[in-house]
């Protein structure tokens, strides 16, 4: 008899409950609901953190389960943000322009409105014409479709090229990093059509919405929580089925799975594209809360931080990724925001704004060396998960496969 999905994955239920509890608690304590214990800016931080957890889940799918260390997922995240940002910026500028043009004696023609919007948006890069990529910017629906489509398509093309030529391991990591760098450098140009290094701004203002930011931030928090919950469910469903077994097989020994007759490239490509789409959605929810997006957001370093979160949280388990992303990014905000108390040593005062990255880097090295399971490994202590016993032999023969020594640590 087939056991139900939930009973096979008890962690899903626990996670969803925690997420729901968290969302309700935050909502009750927010300024938007009137209690006002949690400030609106912190609500936004929490909402953004939920989006980061979502992309961490995607990263865990591709890295922790499929064994592909992609250093390009923040590129997809950024692209998703750009896609929704285009509509937000276009629509808001359009409302402002129409408002100001209605003061003029003669009603404006459609061309005049478009030109004025173009001037408003692209004046900062010395242009006024709409580039081709803004063709659908006037339609929310189409831009929402593009949020998924553009990162997905890029991942599909890139992944097809990379997996087809059997680029694996660190080569693939470097190649994805190169792709991210290329995209960031391209967007940095003024004539890329996305306002160069100015990026898109004013995204926190939803066009046509009168509600205050206190309320809007809550909406986004709910949307992010919903997306994270759904993303987590999807990821849990994928990795618990046969598909999940195959991709874990690919992680542990790619050649053996190929010899068993599975089309390794197709599986990899599917996971890569799917995670890119999830990353795009996470980005589309993140940037309206951040308010601004520019090419610096998708520099290769951001993607590496993503890997750091997942590694610290514990890869190969979905809740590990969420824990890692949430704790590290919140800690990072706390330390770099200047809220952490300085430590006076007499001869020198440790300012955490300066020393946080050193601490992060070092603790990251420590986690890699001493606790490959990350924070998620702590759960094993409590759940008493048994580790495989191969009498010292490796679980998979290839480099990068999970080793017994790690699994039992």
């Amino acid at each position: 008899m087939q056991r139900s999905f939930i009973s096979r994955n008890p962690s899903v239920l626990i996670f969803l409950t925690c997420l729901a509890l968290f969302t309700v608690t935050v909502t009750v304590m927010s300024e938007g609901s009137g209690v006002g214990i949690i400030s609106t800016s912190f609500i936004k931080t929490l909402g953004k953190t939920l989006c980061l957890c979502l992309i961490a889940v995607a990263m865990d799918l591709i890295w922790g389960f499929t064994g592909i260390l992609s250093l390009g997922h923040f590129a997809f995240f950024g692209l998703g943000g750009y896609m929704i940002g285009m509509w937000l910026m276009y629509e808001r500028t359009r409302l402002i322009v129409v408002e100001s043009l209605s003061q003029v004696e003669i009603p404006p023609t459609a061309t005049e409105v478009t030109d004025a919007i173009g001037n408003q948006i692209f004046g900062v890069v010395g242009s006024s014409d709409f580039p081709l990529i803004w063709t659908f910017a006037d339609s929310l629906f189409l831009q929402l479709v593009l949020v998924v489509l553009v990162p997905g398509l890029l991942a599909l093309v890139f992944g097809w090229l990379a997996f087809r030529s059997r680029v694996t391991g660190v080569y693939l990591s470097i190649l994805t990093q190169a792709m991210t760098l290329a995209l960031a450098l391209y967007l940095f140009q003024n004539d890329s059509g996305l306002r160069g290094n100015n990026g898109l701004s004013g995204l926190q203002n939803l066009p046509g919405v009168e509600a205050s930011q206190d309320v809007v931030s809550l909406w986004f928090l709910w949307a992010s929580a919903l997306a994270l919950g759904l993303g987590y469910l999807l990821a849990a469903w994928i990795v618990s089925g046969k598909f999940g077994s195959v991709i874990r097989g690919i992680r542990d020994n790619e050649a053996r799975v190929r010899f068993l007759g599975y089309s390794v490239e197709t599986y990899k490509l599917m996971v890569f594209t799917l995670t890119a789409c999830i990353a795009g959605i996470a980005g589309a929810l993140y940037y309206p809360q951040a308010g601004i997006i520019n090419p610096a957001e998708i520099s290769p370093i951001a993607s590496i931080y993503l890997a750091v979160w997942v590694a610290i949280g514990g890869r190969g388990r979905l809740y590990g990724a969420v824990i890692g992303a949430a704790s590290v990014s919140l800690l990072s905000t706390w330390f770099t925001g200047g809220q952490a108390p300085n430590i006076p040593l007499g001869f020198y005062t440790i300012k955490w704004v300066d020393w946080w990255l050193v601490l992060l880097g070092m603790s990251f090295v420590a986690v890699t060396l001493f606790a490959p399971k990350g924070m998620g490994g702590l759960v094993d202590l409590w759940s008493k998960r048994r580790t495989p016993n191969r009498h010292g032999a490796d679980l998979g023969p290839s480099d990068g496969a999970l080793r017994e020594q790690e699994a039992s640590q």
Binding site: E112, M179, V308, T368, P372
Partner: protein, 651 residues
């Protein structure tokens, strides 16, 4: 040419004979007495000319005295003297010719000649011929430089006259070149100019192009019916071609007030706004005026009523254009000269192109050597050991900062660089060994983890450098003898610092090959790379070999850091700028092979320069396209340009 030479010789001879007689200058001054005394720019020309060509040895001193406002006229007889203030109101006069003091006179009896700036300019031009033959070499050089800076027709004759008498070979060739250039620009004789142009064509000097370009500069003209006969036509323009559209043509007519301006959308809108009458404009309700078609209709109605100028229709434009001819004409009237100049510029252009290609090649070569330098350490750690070291860029940065610190202690730049290079090696070697012992050793079986752990070290080191040295860029100054550039001609030049880096890259290549092929360490490294277990059973200690190899790779990164710091600003992000390119270099070249790294660096360097040349304004785009190209390149050669085969490939 011979003719010109003879002409120059003749002038020179006349000068020589004149100076041999050494006539007195005072009679000539007296001949032009009234003009000189009057001091008007319009009439003074002949007087200056007469003095300058008098052949008297005193002419130069007269002109100089005059320009310096030291020439005085005695009112009683109108004679000119050098005046010098003796007491408050008395002046001592000296005769030009004899050089003897004539006597002391009160100021009332004298008149000081104060040439205005215009006249001083003319005197200065006349003086050039004397300065060009001045016994002092520096003065001759000054005179030449001033002509080069500000050439004029009047300089041509004195310059020619001065060539034959020039003794200094360097100055002589300068004078000859300048004479050719002035001939092209200002000679009266068209044949001489054409001859000079043809003689000089193929020369790469910027001065030649500066002389030729004004000759072929065109101005656009328009005429009713037929092209006027007296202009030197460059091209006949037909409206409607790509280079000269009908819009351009019509706008040109409008600019010259030959046709009524078109009514733009903005004009139409403004006209309608000012003619709103009771909610209607041109008979159409204002609220309906939100399309171009409605506005045109309303405007047409207004135009018919005569309140606004009529719309210019396409038919109007065509009719206006048909009535006129358009042409580009040269300011230079002689057709022969412009044709010769055009041909000369064409052949120069070809030569410039070839030289630019050479320059680009040199640029690419130096960029390739920079990438090679940055990547060679990585080629050892990644290529030979299979360890991916994300902190490689930070080792480069550490090397550069070591150079900076050394320069703070040793102010002499040459000495500090000599100290900095081994010190940077030592520092980064130690850092590399420490990292290998503490971190990487435990992760040999897990390359992806190595990547992440070294990345953790990388961000820690970067932030550490920021905490110690601050965020602003620190200078690492190259020694004086590396300043400047080796200039081959006006197009091709390469800075010495780039040559030094190229040589450094070659040295590294040699050192690396030597270590790998000729030393014990190299042998052991290769053995451990190929099969660690077998190597260990042969008595090699793989741990020690790995440690030393990693240290070597890191140390080379440190030296590369010093070299890169010499031309780039030293910041904590220095390594970041090179890390991706370095990985690209190693991956494209082929892992595990130094020649592959060389090929990879060459390919990336040439590619980047090539793309930059195609799109010169945009280095960001060049980098983007390069990375895209590399991603595609990996498709066809996944193991790089030089791929290892067989067992060494590790498959």
């Amino acid at each position: 040419m011979i003719r010109l030479f003879l002409a120059g010789l003749a002038i020179l001879l006349s000068c020589l004979t004149a100076s041999a007689q050494d006539a007195d200058i005072q009679p000539i001054l007296q001949e032009h007495q009234s003009v000189i005394a009057k001091g008007s720019r319009k009439t003074i020309g002949p007087a200056i000319h007469a003095i300058a060509t008098s052949g008297s040895s005193k002419a130069q001193s007269v002109l100089e005295t005059w320009a310096a406002k030291d020439m005085w006229m005695r009112k009683s007889d109108g004679m000119f003297f050098i005046g010098k203030q003796a007491e408050a109101k008395t002046y001592v006069l000296t005769d030009f010719d004899s050089g003897k003091v004539v006597g002391t006179f009160p100021k009332q009896a004298l008149k000081q000649l104060k040439p205005n700036s215009g006249i001083r300019g003319m005197i200065g031009a006349a003086l050039v011929q004397f300065q060009l033959m001045d016994p002092d070499k520096d003065k001759r050089q000054d005179a030449l430089t001033s002509i080069q800076r500000d050439p004029a027709a009047a300089m041509l004759a004195p310059l020619r006259a001065s060539i034959a008498g020039e003794e200094d070979a360097g100055l002589k060739s300068q004078k000859q070149r300048l004479e050719r250039l002035l001939t092209i620009g200002y000679d009266q004789d068209t044949k001489a100019r054409v001859a000079a142009i043809e003689e000089m064509s193929g020369d790469l000097g910027l001065d030649l192009r500066a002389t030729l370009n004004p000759l072929v500069a065109t101005t656009r003209g328009v005429a009713l019916g037929e092209i006027p006969k007296d202009v030197n036509i460059a091209t006949h323009l037909t409206p409607g071609s790509d280079a000269f559209t009908t819009e351009d043509a019509y706008d040109f007519l409008v600019r010259h007030a030959l046709a009524p301006p078109r009514v733009s959308r903005g004009d139409m809108r403004a006209a309608l706004t000012s003619n709103i009458d009771g909610g209607h404009a041109g008979g159409i309700p204002v609220v309906q005026l939100n399309t171009d078609a409605a506005r045109s209709r309303a405007y047409a109605a207004l135009a018919e009523a005569g309140t606004v100028p009529a719309l210019v229709t396409q038919a109007d434009i065509d009719a206006a254009l048909a009535a006129y001819v358009f042409f580009d004409s040269y300011a230079e009237t002689s057709d022969e000269v412009t044709t010769a100049a055009r041909n000369a510029l064409k052949s120069i252009g070809l030569k410039v192109g070839v030289n630019q290609a050479l320059d680009l090649t040199l640029d690419a070569l130096s960029l390739a050597s920079i990438y090679f330098l940055a990547a060679i350490g990585l080629a050892i750690t990644f290529g030979v050991m299979g360890v991916i070291n994300m902190a490689h860029g930070e080792f480069i940065m550490m090397g550069a900062y070591t150079g900076y610190v050394v320069q703070q202690i040793i102010p002499n730049h040459t000495a500090s660089i000599i100290v900095a290079i081994p010190l940077a090696f030592a520092v980064t070697f130690a850092a590399g060994v420490a990292m290998e012992r503490l971190v990487i050793r435990w992760l040999y079986a897990r390359p992806l983890e190595t990547l992440l752990a070294t990345f953790g070290i990388s961000i820690a080191l970067q932030q550490l450098a920021k905490n110690i040295f601050g965020t602003q860029a620190r200078p690492l100054t190259a020694p004086g003898w590396l300043d400047g550039a080796m200039v081959m001609n006006d197009v091709v030049s390469i800075s010495y610092i780039r040559i030094a880096i190229f040589i450094l890259a070659l040295i590294f290549l040699g050192v690396f090959v030597f270590i790998m092929k000729r030393t014990r360490l190299g042998l052991e490294t290769r053995a451990v790379t190929q099969n660690p277990r077998m190597a260990a059973s042969m008595g090699i200690n793989p741990g020690k070999v790995n440690m030393l190899t990693f240290g070597l790779g890191s140390g080379i990164a440190g030296i590369a850091g010093v070299a890169i710091g010499l031309f780039a600003k030293v910041t904590s992000e220095l390594g970041n700028d090179y890390i991706v390119q370095s990985f690209m270099t190693v991956v494209v070249g082929g892992v595990g092979n130094i020649w592959g790294t060389l090929a990879g660096a060459a390919m990336i360097g040439f590619l980047q320069k090539g793309i930059e040349w195609l799109n010169p304004s945009n280095t960001l785009a060049a980098q983007t396209y390069m990375i895209v190209f590399i991603i595609i390149f990996i498709q066809f050669r996944p193991r790089g340009i030089i791929a290892l085969k067989g067992r060494a490939a590790g498959d």
